[in-house]
């Protein structure tokens, strides 16, 4: 008997898992090409190109962009563009800062002994296990109280008053990303022998050069994974963003949620498709970078 023979049960359950995971995504992408504006049933692809959009009831018959009608509509929608811009700005800034803080925290926890070390380690898990909505309310309360005190104390008025906006969203995203980055980098540091750093110093490198030339390049894959995790967490965060955003800082998840309360056109699907493809390529890119790293 071949010990490597696929067991039918394992094989079929694997197929089922794939279906559950990917069927919704495939349906979602398919519907972004839906000719029907109502988007309840799939009415087929938009068949033809034309100068102007031709509608027949709620079904699109022809469009300047042909089957990609809803993607073109999306590109023309200023609100979407603004929300996408906000989302990316928030994601980039919060990823950068949380990756730096998280990496430093991981390094500190690895190499220094201090009184509150067990507590610091434990406190990393708290933001991860705590329900996001509780975090959201907490952060909202904190900001509004803090801003109230500052605004009143300094007698600020009008535009100079501190209020919720893109910076509060960034701060809150940094807050929930840091533990994830720290844990991922810590995992990478587990196998990191301090003799590499000692060897560098032995060869004449001071502390900073040692970090730059040896420690950092060696933990880089961990830092990149941590950063990517922070990035995706920030991109699709809804709950905490919902509590901390303000006028002009609408992100894509918040925007889509707003749309849902009105009407779901295939434009929402088109938006989701672009989004999924973006994240998918980011993950592929990272995989590629890491596998190239592993080969050497």
């Amino acid at each position: 008997m071949n010990p490597h023979r696929r067991h039918p049960f394992i094989f079929s359950s694997a197929i089922l898992v794939y279906i559950f995971l990917y069927a919704p995504i495939i349906v979602l992408i398919l519907f972004s090409f839906n000719a029907s504006r109502a988007n309840i049933t799939f009415e087929g692809f938009i068949p033809t190109f034309s100068e102007r959009t031709v509608m027949e009831g709620s079904v699109v018959k022809a469009s300047p962009c042909g089957p990609f009608h809803w993607f073109c509509e999306l590109a023309k929608d200023d609100d979407v563009i603004e929300a996408a811009g906000n989302t990316l700005t928030i994601a980039f800034i919060s990823t950068l800062i949380s990756t730096i803080i998280g990496t430093m925290a991981a390094l500190a926890l690895q190499r220094y002994e201090f009184k509150l070390k067990p507590f610091s380690q434990l406190s990393l898990y708290i933001p991860i296990v705590i329900p996001e909505i509780v975090m959201g309310i907490g952060i909202l309360t904190l900001f509004s109280q803090l801003f109230g005190v500052i605004n009143n104390g300094l007698g600020l008025s009008g535009d100079s008053r501190l209020s919720m906006g893109i910076s509060t969203v960034i701060v809150s995203h940094i807050a929930f990303s840091v533990p994830f980055v720290t844990l991922v980098v810590q995992a990478r540091l587990q196998g990191f022998d301090k003799s590499y750093e000692e060897a560098a110093m032995d060869l004449g490198a001071n502390e900073w050069t040692t970090f730059r030339r040896v420690t950092f390049p060696m933990i880089l894959p961990g830092v990149l994974s941590g950063g990517l995790l922070a990035f995706t967490l920030s991109l699709d965060d809804f709950v905490i963003t919902f509590f901390t955003n303000g006028p002009g800082s609408t992100t894509l998840p918040i925007y889509v949620y707003g749309l849902l309360r009105r009407i779901i056109t295939p434009q929402v699907n088109a938006l989701s498709t672009v989004w999924i493809l973006t994240i998918f390529s980011a993950v592929l890119l990272l995989q590629w970078v890491q596998s190239r790293e592993a080969k050497h």
């Binding site: 000692e198 110093m201 004449g204 050069t209």
Partner: protein
């Protein structure tokens, strides 16, 4: 002008707080003077403080008490990158993300050497360790022995005053290890650099060293040339740790300039003509040590200390035969070289056979009792 000693440890103590909260003297009042151009080994069993001593010379640890001198200069709290010593690590610690060339060039870049100089020196040192052509490999693409050479090359390219090596051959198989021992020794003689070598393998230390410091529990037990350490161990620990020995309890019966006479209660007899080591006192309880290869099994009772024994076991190991005998209730191990090829097992000693054991007096050592 070079100082008298390449490295000197003066009354150095290193205390650690163990995870259990106890204070431990990993290195306990150690004084060592390592001469320029010397191959010096620290030898001892696991946990005796060899690595800690080496790390204090390198600058990875600072002494709790005492001082480390390199080329006559007190090191104090000078960081590793300001000391003219380099280390070959037990794990090699080669930078995995850099090529062989980049690994070796690293130390030169830190000195600010220019590109052509780096190329020249790396090429030279690679020739020295016979790794020419491997420049562009990553450490993972090398065998253990090759990685070991890169580690040596990376340290040697800096032309240090002193090279520190912490069990650099520990990860290699026996055959390669023996080859590398001779190679390292040849390299050291060719370059004239002081080597401070840490090992727990006594044969390795014997093979390579000009002088050996035998360590135990953070203390130096004896320091000297391999012959001195083997033939004149300072105490029972050294005699036991280096090579093998038969130990007997005894009491000094008489002591003169030329010879000591020791009474062995277990055998109810005196052994005469023993060499006198300094510090012995008449009437003192002592330990008598006899190396197994220095006991002869002979038909004749030569004009020496001679005892009757019974063979209890023999073990054939190719080069030698270990003969275990019982002499009045004490086990005495004898090592006989197999100088003649014999295929017939019957020609070896049989168990229960009576034999005559001869111990030539200059070979029997009188050690202080512990």
């Amino acid at each position: 002008m070079t100082a008298e000693f390449a490295v000197e440890l003066r009354d150095v103590v290193k205390k650690f707080i163990t995870p259990e909260g106890n204070s431990l003297n990993a290195v306990d009042h150690v004084t060592m003077q390592i001469k320029n151009g010397e191959f010096f080994s620290m030898l001892g069993s696991s946990g005796c403080g060899k690595t800690t001593s080496l790390r204090m010379i390198a600058g990875f640890e600072w002494p709790t008490e005492g001082e480390v001198y390199i080329e006559g200069k007190a090191m104090g709290h000078l960081p590793p990158f300001q000391r003219k010593v380099n280390t070959v690590f037990q794990s090699y610690a080669l930078f995995q993300h850099l090529t062989v060339f980049q690994n070796i060039a690293f130390g030169l870049e830190m000195e600010g050497a220019d590109k052509s100089e780096i190329e020249k020196r790396v090429k030279h040192v690679l020739e020295m360790v016979q790794l020419t052509g491997m420049e562009r490999r990553k450490p993972k693409q090398l065998s253990g022995g090759q990685q070991q050479r890169v580690a040596v090359a990376r340290a040697l390219v800096k032309v240090p005053d002193v090279l520190l090596l912490d069990e650099p051959l520990g990860a290699l198989d026996l055959k390669l290890r023996k080859e590398m021992q001779l190679e390292l020794k040849a390299l050291q003689q060719q370059l004239g650099i002081t080597f401070v070598y840490v090992t727990h393998d006594q044969e390795e230390a014997m093979t390579m060293s000009d002088r050996i410091a035998v360590m135990s529990k953070g203390k130096v037990q004896q320091m000297g040339h391999p012959v001195e350490i083997y033939e004149r161990p300072a105490n029972k620990f050294v005699a036991d740790f280096i090579g093998e020995s038969n130990f007997l309890d005894g009491k000094i019966k008489s002591l003169s300039k030329e010879e000591a006479v020791v009474f062995i209660p277990a055998w109810n007899t005196e052994i005469t003509g023993l060499p006198v080591s300094p510090g012995l006192v008449n009437g003192e309880e002592v330990t008598v040590s006899i190396r197994p290869e220095k006991v002869l099994i002979s038909d004749q009772t030569l004009n020496q200390n001679s005892f009757k024994g019974k063979v209890t076991n023999t073990v054939y190991i190719g080069t030698d035969t270990h003969v275990y005998t019982d002499v009045m209730g004490k086990r005495v191990k004898v090592l006989e070289q197999n100088r003649i090829s014999r295929l017939d097992p019957g020609s070896f000693y049989t168990i229960g056979q009576d034999v005559n054991l001869v111990m030539m007096f200059e070979n029997v050592l009188v050690l202080k009792k512990e």
